[in-house]
């Protein structure tokens, strides 16, 4: 498969591993955060850490929209789904995430709630067209990659004059999350996480471009390498970060030049700005309240906003006490630092979102990498 197989080449990986080993200085550590859950997944699925010297440590970030959604918001979705006249359309990722009181969308479905898995927002719009007597609510989650599809679906529903289609919007913004990680602990009351550089998300950047990261590089003096998704992309990006750190540079470099430009996708950004506006505040699992970090529908699209049509309160809840998802999402702890990991909490019996999402650090580590813990 073109533009895929080339970036999974064993010989190339060997040579990049040799270059990284040669250039990583032995007198320092390199703590690199891969922001994006997709990168975390690839790192474990291919065993990339086996090809890195021991003084390069990958710190797993919060770029997993399933993982950072607070339980209270999922509970709202479950309550909405349980309503008589509602069909809740959702991406597959959310179906098994545990909400409060042991509930989940999948369990609600088994109890009789009408919940349908969709691959695309267009499927949700089609559901609304096909079921004029029912209320179709699309459970929207995701960072900037996933937001334009929701925007287009809302505009399509408006054009078609649909009166039974709404979106429960939980779209969040990447730069806000990066800022939250970098900001001084004094402000955030969270323990400091030492990070030397960032692997920037591939497909968020396709949409927003490389420009938004320049602020972090300048303000916080942290190098960024926007990285493609495949193992060779990731290794090349790690090499770029190692070089930046060795040379004392703090720039935004774009490794994923085949798909990312400085300005990103203007059509996509315009679609989003037509339909959405910033929320003053939004609670993130693991990162607390972050201002201007999430989106809601603009007033002119109020008719498509599930939160305005349905009266469901947001009840903030705390997760299970021993669950370390919040610290893991910040990069402050590793999955193996959590008492529940691999014992009470496994992919079959997930207690936290980091374990149930296939892009969560705990799920990735458990599914692909837990033999490393056994060896210690």
């Amino acid at each position: 498969m073109k533009h895929l197989d080339e970036y999974r080449d064993a010989e190339m990986a060997r040579r990049l591993a040799a270059a990284i080993a040669r250039e990583a200085r032995t007198d320092r550590r390199y703590r690199l955060m891969e922001f994006c859950g997709g990168h975390t997944h690839a790192i474990f699925r291919y065993g990339i850490e086996d090809l890195l010297p021991s003084n390069i440590e990958m710190v797993h970030g919060p770029g997993c929209p399933v993982c950072v959604l607070p339980t209270g918001r999922l509970d709202m979705a479950i309550r909405l789904a349980r309503r008589e006249d509602v069909i809740l359309a959702s991406y597959g990722d959310m179906l098994r995430v545990p909400g409060s009181k042991g509930q989940s969308l999948l369990k609600a479905k088994a109890d009789g709630a009408d919940i349908r898995m969709v691959y695309s927002t267009l499927d949700a719009v089609k559901l609304a067209e096909a079921n004029p007597g029912r209320e179709v609510i699309f459970f929207a989650i995701g960072f900037e990659t996933t937001t334009p599809p929701t925007a287009l679906a809302i505009e399509a529903a408006a054009r078609k004059g649909l009166t039974n289609f709404t979106v429960f919007c939980n779209h969040v913004l990447t730069p806000s999350a990066i800022a939250a990680i970098l900001e001084a602990p004094a402000i955030r009351e969270l323990e400091a996480v030492e990070i030397d550089g960032f692997l920037g998300p591939a497909h968020v950047s396709v949409v927003i471009g490389s420009q938004p990261y320049e602020f972090f590089a300048e303000e916080y003096r942290k190098p960024v390498a926007i990285s493609g998704f495949e193992p060779i992309d990731i290794m090349q990006s790690i090499l770029m970060l190692v070089r930046q750190l060795n040379e004392g540079r703090a720039e935004v470099e774009n490794q994923y030049i085949r798909a990312v430009t400085r300005d990103g996708n203007l059509r996509a950004k315009e679609a989003v700005s037509r339909v959405f506006e910033l929320r003053r505040d939004f609670e993130w699992r693991g990162l607390g309240h972050i201002p201007y970090s999430a989106l809601r529908l603009k007033d002119e699209f109020a008719a498509f906003d599930a939160e305005r049509r349905f009266d469901e309160p947001y009840i903030p809840t705390e997760g299970i006490k021993a669950c370390e998802c919040p610290a893991i999402l910040r990069g402050a702890k590793k999955p193996t630092d959590c008492r529940l990991f691999g014992r009470a909490c496994t992919p079959e019996t997930p207690l936290g979102s980091c374990m149930v999402s296939s892009e969560g650090a705990c799920a990735a580590y458990y599914t692909y990498g837990r033999m490393r813990e056994a060896a210690q």
Binding site: R8, A10, A13, G47, L51, G92, R96, P347, E359
Partner: protein, 352 residues
Amino acid sequence: MNVASRSARPASRRLDLAAGRVDLTHGAGGRAMQQLIEEIFRPALDNPFLARGDDQAAFDVSAGRMVMSTDSFVVSPLFFPGGDIGSLAVHGTVNDVAMSGARPLYLSAGFVIEEGFPLAELARIARSMGEAARAAGVAVVTGDTKVVERGKADRLFVNTAGIGVVPAGVEISGDRARPGDAILLSGSMGDHGVAIMAHRAGLEFETTIVSDSAALNGLVADMVAVMTDIHVLRDPTRGGLAATFNEICHQSNVGMRLDEAAIPVKPEVLGACELLGLDPLNVANEGKLIAIVPAEDAARLLAVMRAHPLGRDATVIGEVVADPARFVRMATRIGGERIVDWLAGEQLPRIC
């Protein structure tokens, strides 16, 4: 099955195979059910046992150990590229019996049919079963039919059970894998599961993905003829290669080391798996097997497998190792390491 008096049945009441549907009388044990058996099942499955019309089949058994296996088939859709629930039901049980090294002999077939099921489809499925059985050298010698009300069965469920005889000296079992053994795979992974799932997800194909559903007893017979000391044979069906290997590691109390680059996967299957967010190692196969043998016998066995049409792409994909943690480890394409774990719950396609 009771024989009804032929002279009492008027010719005008033959089944309307083109447009007729199964109704509750066809499962009631009376004349209607007899018609179903005589006009659909018996001609399609065609053997002296069924022709006798008894409720059971009687046959002599040769000396040696006998093996029995059963499986139920609930596949949807019923018809798919490369087969249907009928051929699948034959292949599945023939293969389960063959994985002990046994020569499969006789099958039973039970049908639970939803009221309203088209007779034309039932006839097509019965014919397909008959063809599959003949090609595998086995006979469906006894069976049963039940009809349930609309909504009480997803169109059609089939159960088959099979018996076979194990040749002397052959001891194939999941607990016989030993550190140092070679792991062989007969061919490409993921074809059947992807053929079904891609169909259901509404994907189209430039090159149609065809189920690999096939009877493996011929291949097994060739393998057992050349060496009796095969340690383990298994066909990776539901749960794929990952489930099969983890089961064996647990039964034998060993670990494994696999080489991802050595495991064959067709490009279309890889593409579909990428699009659906699936791992080919978790996907069902219905015409492939793995063999675990002492390392020194691997080359010899591989040659025999490759000489058979169902083993052309046979290859060594790894080895059994000592491991108290019983992990199935795999060297990834790029030289790192991961484990190949059991799948947690049902496969939900990865989107975000």
